[in-house]
Assembly symmetry: C2
Homo-oligomer: 446 residues x 2
């Protein structure tokens, strides 16, 4: 279903400056935003009590409305594309922004798939009875109102809105100004779908103005109406969110992912995994940025791995061991170990076995995704246990860091924090819980 | 085991002004605090990898050290008590501060009980295999470093420290200045216990200075070393925390709890529950503050309930219906419906059935704990589903809002937010999770 190149973050540093600085707030924007917040809060209340069938039906209706709105969406998208071209945006930016019938259909299909996911609300997560007869249940409930701030990719309007609604929440979406026309057209279709199925349109609200002040207002919680913020964008957006937000945030800052090739790895498997982890898509957050090779590995390991990367068109920036392995390797600077290249560039280094790998990863990992390749189960277990990242893999590519690959049926992003959501943020991660207690007149002794 | 009057919040508004205002930060304090943060971070790393046996042993050793330190703790406590008396603190404040041999033994017993709780770290929360053969596990891991800011109750030093360690975390404790001598003595015992069992002393760190700037530094995250803040104190402390904190917070602001007596309630049960919910202990966060009586209930409901409360020494502030029911009822002001009395005072009101109850609770509840008394299962289910509070009870007293009563074996507090922890914050709520993925060389298709 996915036809966009990245499923994790949506890195477009070249447009970050349109939304990452504090600004004066104009009264009209503030009024508009507070009204959006109030309507979203009321919609969240209705959504929390909506039946599973009502939500499923509404999302299918939204998907149908998207398909019916193809001409409108393409017309709106053409405006955004023309503006982006006039502004001299790079091709990768234009590609992220571009919609065609196939991409709109994929978006609609995504919404249909989210509609069919199991409804998380009301699930009993645990139940037990106390000696006094009180019966406890921990029951899944929606989070409330989710604010989603994103940049150029217009499909987020459909994906994120649908995931929020499936989990019984309302979403307030703030699209990047460059994709606003496209997002408005997609939003109009989604809202009409919800409405036709009897759910409040405001369950998916889109900020209609490109005014940057809207971001600041959302980060402040929009008069207490926003429960959590999900930023999807480049590093500077996420950092602004983390600095200014007065409400909880599900954020990932960076995916500086490592693949460690142990002395007991199958070299053929290691080559396949490293090539895929780096080169399948270089711009995704789960792409490996640093290759660590066990210095106790057979002599051919480093040259074979480095050659495979170089031959595939990857620049290798290495330590002495990597440079000795192939003349094409460039000397790595200290900064390279701390850099999320998001390009066909890898940092490569020899480390002193599993201890050296753990030490390097402990220092430089952004706690997103890290992998080990080894045939030794004990070494693998140690790596999986000691690396403090949201996702740790054994004998697999770091590019599996994606909600779809986890079987979550969609994600809003990958959270690298440890609170509430960690890793892919799917429907379940957009819920909370409450305790429901049944008694028969129990009172608490003194 | 508990000999303190309150297990939820620790309300002492009279001392809040010692810690709730921004302040200038002196360099020595900042250096001390940053050093504490660094040591705690290193200790958290060791604790995360400590075996269940090591943690259990260390906590039993800490409990033994507490018992052995009774004379030191009592001597330190005597200093705090003398200072509090000299400052003219009220009796309730002195009582919260006071330690005797029995209370120290209860504290040690609490630590022994926490030692014996099941170890949450490493628990597999979910596992599944994808069609490509990748095996996924969601595994519980510690959160990291937990900052706990509390006021006069010195036992928190032992309870909160032990819960954090059991969950594989390090704790940085900031005690109220009024209880600092007592907390230092308790902390010295706990740390020596950890050390004797081979765990780092810094796994439970106590801020050694009464300097209020320490609170601000902790709220700012202490140079990135604190992962979450748990405030235990009066409303103004919690509000300062929620305004200033740059790290996630597990906070409860207020427990404005309601008990709704439906027309189909058993009146005898309702009287027992309401009396217990209000009067068992009036200063705890789970105490009922507002009684809602169905206006469609038999005529004797309101008078019987109100009389029972008045006869038990409770002041009743009521609407017209309540005032008609008993001449002793005082007229409620608008403010009363929004007031957490934390005293032998209740607001009482007739509401138009379950709809009226839901409307009133939706407006005034602080999403802590609310209860319904009814014999009608459908009405109960509607209440439990629609009231958006951390804890909702049917035919039971709101005073069951307590981790011990839930069977959690101790709690740090009751969280009213919806992120991560909600309701009693016990050992499990002090953990996060990570995804562990086992492969056999899988790479991700294009």
């Amino acid at each position: 279903m996915k036809t966009w190149p990245c499923t994790g973050n949506d890195v477009s540093p070249e447009v970050n400056d349109t939304m990452n600085k504090p600004e004066r707030i104009d009264t009209a924007t503030e009024d508009t935003m507070l009204a959006i917040g109030k309507r979203a809060r009321a919609a969240a209340h209705a959504l929390a009590l909506a039946s599973p069938e009502a939500k499923t039906k509404a999302l299918h209706a939204a998907a149908a409305a998207l398909r019916a709105a193809v001409p409108d969406i393409l017309a709106a998208n053409a405006k955004d594309i023309a503006a982006a071209q006039a502004a001299g945006r790079p091709d990768a930016f234009i590609d992220r922004l571009l919609l065609d019938e196939k991409r709109i259909d994929a978006m609609a299909q995504g919404v249909d798939e989210i509609a069919e996911l199991p409804d998380p609300v009301g699930t009993v997560l645990a139940e037990w009875t106390r000696p006094n007869g009180l019966q406890f249940q921990r029951v899944r409930v929606p989070l409330g109102v989710i604010g989603i701030i994103y940049e150029s990719r217009p499909n987020v309007t459909a994906d994120a809105g649908a995931l929020a609604v499936k989990a019984g929440n309302a979403a307030i979406l703030r699209a990047g100004s460059e994709s606003l026309n496209s997002s408005l057209a997609i939003h109009a279709a989604m809202a009409s779908g919800l409405k036709s199925a009897g759910l409040p349109e405001a369950a998916i609200s889109l900020v209609p103005t490109p005014d940057r002040a809207a971001v600041g207002l959302m980060l402040a919680g929009l008069g207490g109406t926003i429960d959590v913020i999900v930023p999807r964008g480049g590093k500077s957006l996420v950092e602004r969110v983390q600095t200014e937000a007065r409400v909880p945030v599900f954020a990932h800052l960076e995916g500086l992912c490592h693949t460690y090739v142990d002395r007991r790895a199958d070299l053929g498997m290691a080559v396949d995994i490293v090539l895929n982890a780096k080169m399948r898509r270089t711009g995704v957050c789960g792409a490996t940025e640093t290759l660590l090779v066990d210095s106790g590995a057979p002599a051919e390991f480093m040259p074979t791995l480095v050659k495979a990367l170089l031959d595939a068109g990857c620049q290798v920036r290495g330590d002495e061991a990597a440079r000795k392995a192939d003349a094409r390797v460039i000397a790595a600077s200290d900064e390279d170990w701390a850099t999320e290249h998001l390009d066909a560039i890898i940092s490569a280094k020899a480390v002193d076995g599993i201890d050296g790998a753990l030490q390097h990863i402990g220092r430089y990992s952004t706690q997103h995704t890290d992998a080990i390749v080894t045939a030794d189960a004990d070494t693998a277990e140690r790596f999986l246990r000691e690396v403090d990242s949201a996702i740790v893999l054994h004998n697999a590519s770091t590019q599996f860091a994606d909600g779809g690959e986890f079987g979550f049926g969609g994600e809003i992003g990958i959270a690298t924090g440890k609170m509430h959501a960690r890793g892919p943020v799917g429907v379940e991660q957009l819920t909370s819980f409450k305790y429901v207690v049944h008694g028969a007149g129990q009172i608490r002794p003194k």
